[in-house]
Amino acid sequence: MLAAIIQNPTPDTVSYLIIGYVIIGVVGLGYVITLLIRQNNLRRDLEMLKRLEEEED
């Protein structure tokens, strides 16, 4: 058992792990940011339309 572990040590794959989670973070956060940007733009549009409507009245 010990000999097998020494002969086949667990590989160092931390760099793959970091790259993987950076990708997960970028995609996940990226989507959340697009939601926030769209929401803010719509809110701005809504405020502007509301003002225009009030001016019309």
């Binding site: 590989p11 160092d12 794959t13 990708i23 995609v27 809110r43 225009l52 409507e53």
Partner: protein, 251 residues
């Protein structure tokens, strides 16, 4: 955050931008769940001996895949409900769920190649499971693009409902169908499989616990994102309504 529009008065009034308390609580809870899932993935679960640290990608890779499939199932339910009732709210649930599902499946498809690079020696192979997943992603990306090409809202909704139901076949092939194919090198994580995957590993109790927690976490991630996306769609409708009203006055 979105606006509450009080209709029926001469001037449409924006009264508040605050999300409901339940959504705020759910969002905070989901963020905490993600922190806990990260703890489970990085510290609680043991390091897999053959692959080392890279195996820890598995927890979010599979969790996102599960939530993506759940999102597309919600689209099927919303599609059936729309075809029966014709209510706009079901259409909103349907396309919102597709968008969130697509983001989740993108997490799976983008993180998988990193793991594959180590386990298989190449980031991508036209293996049946991977090919099916790519076709599924393209099917739902096409759903969103094709919807945009239809101007009439009712036709758009009918198209979305039918497409969402039919496209679910690609989900069934990806998650269930390929289990009967022995030629795949992608390991089956949950349930029996006819294949012997390369990069397969045994499920130690702590690995299983972390995986189950990840499934639960991504279910909450999906629910939270869906709720936010639905609110965004309602806000879009309100802006469109106001625009149309103003244009009709000016015209």
């Amino acid at each position: 955050m979105s606006a509450t529009v009080v209709e029926g008065s001469p001037a449409t009034t924006v009264t508040t931008h605050r999300p409901p308390l339940a959504l705020t609580v759910l969002t905070v809870f989901t963020a905490l769940m993600l922190l806990a899932a990260s703890y489970m993935a990085f510290l609680y679960a043991p390091t897999e001996l053959t692959m080392g640290a890279v195996q820890r990608i598995f927890y979010f890779h599979v969790g996102a895949a599960w939530a993506g499939a759940l999102a597309f199932l919600v689209t099927v339910v919303a599609g059936v409900a729309y075809l029966i009732t014709g209510k706009r709210s079901w259409d909103i649930v349907g396309f919102s769920s597709v968008e969130v599902g697509l983001a989740l499946v993108t997490i799976t498809l983008a993180s998988g190649p990193v793991w594959a690079q180590f386990a298989w020696g190449k980031p991508w192979t036209w293996d049946p499971k991977l090919t099916a997943a790519a076709v599924m992603w393209l099917s739902y990306a096409a759903y969103l693009m094709l919807r945009q090409g239809i101007e009439d809202q009712r036709r758009q909704a009918r198209f979305g409902a039918v497409y969402g139901i039919v496209a679910f076949a690609s989900v069934m092939v990806t998650y269930v169908g390929v289990r009967f194919i022995t030629a795949t090198i992608h390991p089956a994580v949950v349930g029996p499989s006819a294949s012997t995957g390369q990069g397969d590993f045994g499920m130690a109790p702590r690995i299983r616990n972390a995986m189950i927690f990840s499934f639960l976490t991504f279910t909450f991630v999906f629910a939270t994102l869906l709720w936010h996306r639905i609110r965004l769609a309602h806000l879009t409708d309100r802006v469109a309504l106001l625009k149309a009203r103003l244009l009709s006055r000016l015209g």
